[in-house]
Symmetry: C2
Subunit: 352 residues, 2 copies
Amino acid sequence: MQKSYFRIRLSKFYFSDLKGLSVELTYKTAGVDIKAGEETVKKIKGFAKSTFNENVLSDLGLFGGFFEFQKNVYAEPVLVSSVDGVGTKLKVAIAMNVHSTIGQDLVNHCVNDIAVCGAKPLFFLDYLAFGKLNPETASSIVEGFSVACKQNGCALIGGETAEMPGVYQNNDYDMSGTIVGVVEKKKIINGKRILKGDVLLGFVANGLHTNGYSLARKVLEIFSFDQKFDDLELPLGEELLRVHKSYLNLITHLKKEADIHGFSHITGGGIVGNTKRIIPDGSDLKIDWTAWELPYLFKLIQKTGSISDQEMRAAFNLGIGLIAVVAKDEVDKIINASIALNETAILLGEVI
Amino acid sequence: MQKSYFRIRLSKFYFSDLKGLSVELTYKTAGVDIKAGEETVKKIKGFAKSTFNENVLSDLGLFGGFFEFQKNVYAEPVLVSSVDGVGTKLKVAIAMNVHSTIGQDLVNHCVNDIAVCGAKPLFFLDYLAFGKLNPETASSIVEGFSVACKQNGCALIGGETAEMPGVYQNNDYDMSGTIVGVVEKKKIINGKRILKGDVLLGFVANGLHTNGYSLARKVLEIFSFDQKFDDLELPLGEELLRVHKSYLNLITHLKKEADIHGFSHITGGGIVGNTKRIIPDGSDLKIDWTAWELPYLFKLIQKTGSISDQEMRAAFNLGIGLIAVVAKDEVDKIINASIALNETAILLGEVI
């Protein structure tokens, strides 16, 4: 497919119609219907703009996205950033042809990674790469970004969409996202105040979130995605696509109501791998693995794949997506604060 | 390859040794030699740390990268960000097995995109995804990021490296990068002050930079990468891998010495496509396409592929990587300022 390489710089689309010229050219040469392409660009622009707030200087964004920083709100502002992908959860989305939620997974994952540091998200940028650009798929993914950005109060201020024939198979794509947030230096949450005897309070995840999918897919490939199980609410594929939960509201609320020594976002590496990152050198974790019931999806994976407990614990969140580390005498506050948000704090271990 | 999915969150490696646990596990399950993996992680940490400045709060970066923002330096700071990839220039790097410069391409591309807005880069984050992680390749790429980050005075504060079997072929990989910079609101360069009669001054590119590679590769596939041409300094493959030039120093210098109405970074869409993004509605560009000699590499592509001038102009930079738009009476200042940096300003058109 000669001449098929092009880039859509979403930041251009978001902010400037002049780029229409290049859109036309590139879609045409890529063999994509121009009208469909223009429709997509219009939609994408709309999705992005729907996330803007007064800090986004939208008319200025030509080669980059512009975000006015409210410097007076902070005494010593620290920018906190994180970049992530969604791993092979993508393969499930592609197989199911459901692309509306995978963007939400990515935004929420990124938001959680900086929220556990105490930061509030400001803006998000995405990278999308396709073997062959499918305008509807791209539009659906970006809608997902915008939905989650709005939910988390951050602006989608830029993106890059690339068509890379020969790198990705036709229907395949990959994505990454970068979030930038801010925290007052004195309010950084980094685990430095964690002491031996502090307790771990876990909060439930919404499925696998975005980790362990290569293993899960391998194990579960004997089933079809529309297979139903008595103990699963939804068909298997839909269970696997459940959206990575954002803990931003919960974290914000807990910070107000209690003195938090540390937060851990449970992603690859599991409960222990992630929580160890914030506890002081020389301390360790004692987890009561019976403190909560393993959700059925994990039981199904473990049983079907004959996977050891050790491996399950390293690959999956096992139903716990966030852990707060607090002093013992803060536990009641956390439990009460959680109830107000319809969340349940599970006492699942301590720092030893 | 069961259990092969894992993520290396470079941000963790950069800042925390606790994550050693997860490194070991993941390398082992991926069939990668553990010692080699540990060596790589050590190297990658070293590369990233080599880019740090006093604003990077390295001991704090657990789930995210921390960058202290010097708010007092700016009256009205605006954060400028951009995300990009390098397109199928990757395919050339992979075919040549040269991975040390592709990271520089990405950083410089991102830096230019915000520098043309008047911004100074602060920090950069990368995303790398492999079919099968090759520690040496990963290390070489990240070294490239660090080299360019240091050259541009920005910190490599985070990254994500994912192994995604089934999405990428074994030796293939993709990458994206996000840069965040800052500009004083009143010093934003956005083309708003461009007037009819302003002139375009071009500055030479260092080869194709990162655009047009799918077309170039398709056309040039009849040659081998080590083929030499009388009019090319290096063998073809090396010419194709020439590093995307950073214009940060040049832009910084020109801003000091002259009144710049607009800068345009020539990427996908070419000279016209990119410069049109910054000129006012109702104006157009008149380019003198004979004002500079087309570098031989572009001549070779055009001749070999029988490509029309129009298509060449939309797909490639044609040897011009940056354009400054200024009033006529600023031209001498620009020319003199350029000479001081061993650059030549080429008068190549005007705004009509």
